[in-house]
Amino acid sequence: MNSFLPEVAMVTIAALAPILAAALGGLATEYVGVLNIALEGLIMAGGFAYVAVGGTWGPAAGMVAAITVPAVLALAQDGFARKARADAFVVGLAMNMLIPGAASVMSELIFGTKGVVALSALASGTLAPGAVHVPVVGPVLFSQRWSDILALLASAVVALGLALTPFGLRLRAAGMKPESVELAGLSPGRLRDGAYALSGAACGVAGMAMAAAIGAWVPNLSAGRGWIALVAIYLGRKRLKGTFLASLSFAALLALATLAQAVPSLPAGLLGAVPYLVTAVAVILGSAARGQYARKIKA
């Protein structure tokens, strides 16, 4: 029991890395008023780019690709939606369907398989393997993977950018009243592009972290993290702090489900489904609570 809490903390932090990165990237698009629904697909694009490029040129090149490829995809997604005046929601859904298919085709072309591509060279090492036995800090921090720490750092950068920079301010202004930024001599469309590129890059980092955690590309790598991130934004009331807390809660749930699978008497399959069930229940309760709140305000 002594090692239980640090272990939960450790697994929670690892689970938090991809969810938080994706959620904060999504929040940037929520700021401009057009939530990017394609987080799930973009995470996959990041993970696949990491493995596909990293497999030939090494993990560092893989990371660069994992950030740039989804960023460019998201930019193209928004560019198309704006130019064609298409519904951003529908275009985002299409991205979520296109990316796994495209990844599968390219996986066949590059690696000759549509299934798992395991490349041990791409698996991330831990921060300080020698220091793992230091009490508390050892398991909680030093045994974390490099890739997860990078994803958390990237999340911190995105959070700072949204909360404290002129860019974040402009995104919010563009979302509240596009004319306010237009009158300030800025382009609401460009800001929306910027938010989308940021969401793509952040999701790419999340995908990289997930692929590096297992040192492999697997179909459905993202395993619903993008959807969980969307729910975290929603439950976090579209605010930075709320989104962080919601992401942390989901990460803790995922961690508990993972750890509980080690208990032989519990059904592993059911436990794996628990975070997703909780997500669904949270959405329903969350929207019900909001409905009540709205009614109260009206009355």
């Binding site: 920079t165 301010l169 919010r172 382009s187």
Partner: protein
């Protein structure tokens, strides 16, 4: 040399099929206040947006201080020193005043982070310089209309603009705020600024402007020195319909009490005792923004009094079943409360009648469409039935709300700032419609920051001063505005 010259400007909007400008000219000199007048839909706002680089003309030239320019964006116009105070709020509601003002030119710390303290300091200094009361650190959503307008003006001035375009800046200001604004504009003029002032209000224009350019159907009809004009002549130029022959007529025959305030208190307001009977128009002239807003909210049942009661048809506002009565409400916040900008003109104008159609009738669309056309025509709303209400000019929006609300013989009419955004011809038509409602037995409460509205409409009049109502003689036409300004000091 002109500070700003717009020559032969053409602009049409293919989306809605409207031609806004067909060869309009405007020349504004340094140290001049130049009024741009015209009917609703004459193209004033379009010309303003083009002058400020927010809209590209289809054809025509723009010159700033004698050299030809082509604005590719708002930023180009901003660099050329052109500031805009838009007709509708272009402030981001959830941000502070300072954030809105600094947007696009944010002060930074370490070259990276937004320096909110400096932004607030700069905004506060700016406000102080122009004698404005708007707090720099306040969130816009928490401000009243006049402070929002102040923030809007500060934003336009923040980049040191020396060519300033104001699009109906006084439409939501009271007398005293208007005078403050005029003083400011005169000071700017003395400092050499060129000011384009768009307005409907003849008296205001004659008071303030050096020259007047009249826009009609997208072309500049004429430019005259303001000294050559009187109120009537100017109104005739804007819309040649004998519009200046407006005024009070008809008589009231008060009946049953319909709307009652009994010791009602809420926020800055009260206690207020007031009875509005069927068949009469009660006018309340207001100066301070806040208490006027509160009085409007109470009258419309949007807010309940903290103490005392507000009742309509003998029921307190929270018990009142609105469906059972014909209540018309024409709000100050036209875009927020009075209409849905994203819905079509047709849906907006029909919103009050929808329950009257059978599903089959509604689906067939023929009857509703014909009704919408007739309703829009009753108030001369100009625009495409299927286009979103967003595309309508301010005056047309006001007409739309008036047409919808005064439809179907209302029993109670609560109307705030009825003539906001209306040209003289449309104003007299709107006032006529309100009088007609009274003559058909409605109890009418008019709240207005424009003393002329109260003078022209009210059978009984009050002035709202420091949250309390004082009865005044509405017949005393000229005295009202003196009373308003006198009561303030």
């Amino acid at each position: 040399m002109d500070a700003l010259a717009l020559v032969g400007i053409h602009k049409s909007f293919p989306d809605t099929g409207t031609v806004a400008l067909s060869g309009a000219d405007l020349r504004v000199a340094r140290g001049e206040i130049h009024a741009l007048v015209g009917e609703n839909g004459a193209g004033k706002s379009t010309l303003a947006r083009i002058a400020c680089g927010m809209l590209a003309p289809d054809r025509g030239g723009i010159e700033v201080r004698g050299s030809a320019v082509a604005f590719r964006s708002r930023r180009d116009a901003e660099r050329a020193g052109i500031g805009l105070v838009p007709q509708y709020s272009m402030l981001a509601e959830g941000l502070t005043v300072a954030q809105n003002i600094s947007l696009g030119h944010e002060p930074r710390r370490l070259g990276l982070f937004y320096d909110s303290r400096r932004a607030e300091y700069e905004a506060a200094m700016l406000a102080q310089r122009y004698g404005f009361s708007v707090p720099a650190d306040a969130v816009v959503a928490a401000l009243g209309p006049s402070q929002r307008r102040e923030a809007e003006i500060l934003r336009a001035m923040a980049r040191g603009a020396d060519i300033l375009v104001l699009d109906e800046p006084t439409s939501i200001l009271d007398e005293s705020e208007t005078r403050t604004l005029f003083d400011l504009l005169r000071r700017l003029r003395a400092a050499g600024a060129a000011i384009v002032y768009i307005s409907h209000r003849a008296r205001e224009i004659l008071d303030l402007a050096d020259r007047v350019t009249v826009l009609r159907d997208g072309v500049a009809l004429t430019t005259l020195a303001a000294g050559q004009l009187d109120e009537c002549g100017l109104a005739e130029l804007i819309a040649p319909t004998g519009a200046c022959a407006s005024g009070r007529d008809g008589a009231s025959a008060p009946g049953q009490p319909v709307l009652q305030f009994l010791g009602a208190e809420a926020g800055p307001l009260g206690p207020v005792d007031l009875v509005v009977r069927s068949g009469e128009i009660v006018g309340v002239a207001a100066f301070a923004g806040n208490a006027m807003d509160t009085l409007e909210d109470l009258s419309a049942g949007v807010r309940l009094p903290d103490r005392g009661t507000v009742a309509a048809f003998g029921l307190s506002m929270d018990r009142l079943r609105r469906r059972g009565h014909r209540i018309a409400y024409i709000p100050t916040d036209r875009e927020g409360r009075g209409m849905s900008l994203r819905s079509s003109l047709r849906d907006n104008v029909l919103a009050g009648r929808l329950s009257g159609y059978s599903p089959v009738e509604y689906a067939a669309r023929k009857t509703p469409h014909a009704d919408a056309l007739a309703l829009a025509k009753s108030m001369d709303v100009q625009g495409h039935m299927a286009a979103p209400a967003e595309a309508l000019s301010g005056g047309n929006r006001q007409r739309l709300v008036l047409a919808r609300e005064l439809d179907k013989r209302p029993e109670l009419v609560v109307v705030a700032n009825p003539s906001q955004g209306l040209d003289p011809a449309a104003r007299s038509k709107a006032l006529g419609a309100i009088r007609k409602a009274r003559d058909q037995g409605a109890a009418v409460l008019v709240l207005s920051q424009d003393p002329d509205d109260i003078r022209d409409l009210a059978d009984r009049a009050f002035v709202l001063y420091r949250g309390k109502l004082k009865p005044i003689d509405s017949e005393e036409a000229g005295g009202l505005s003196a009373l308003l300004t006198g009561a303030r000091t």
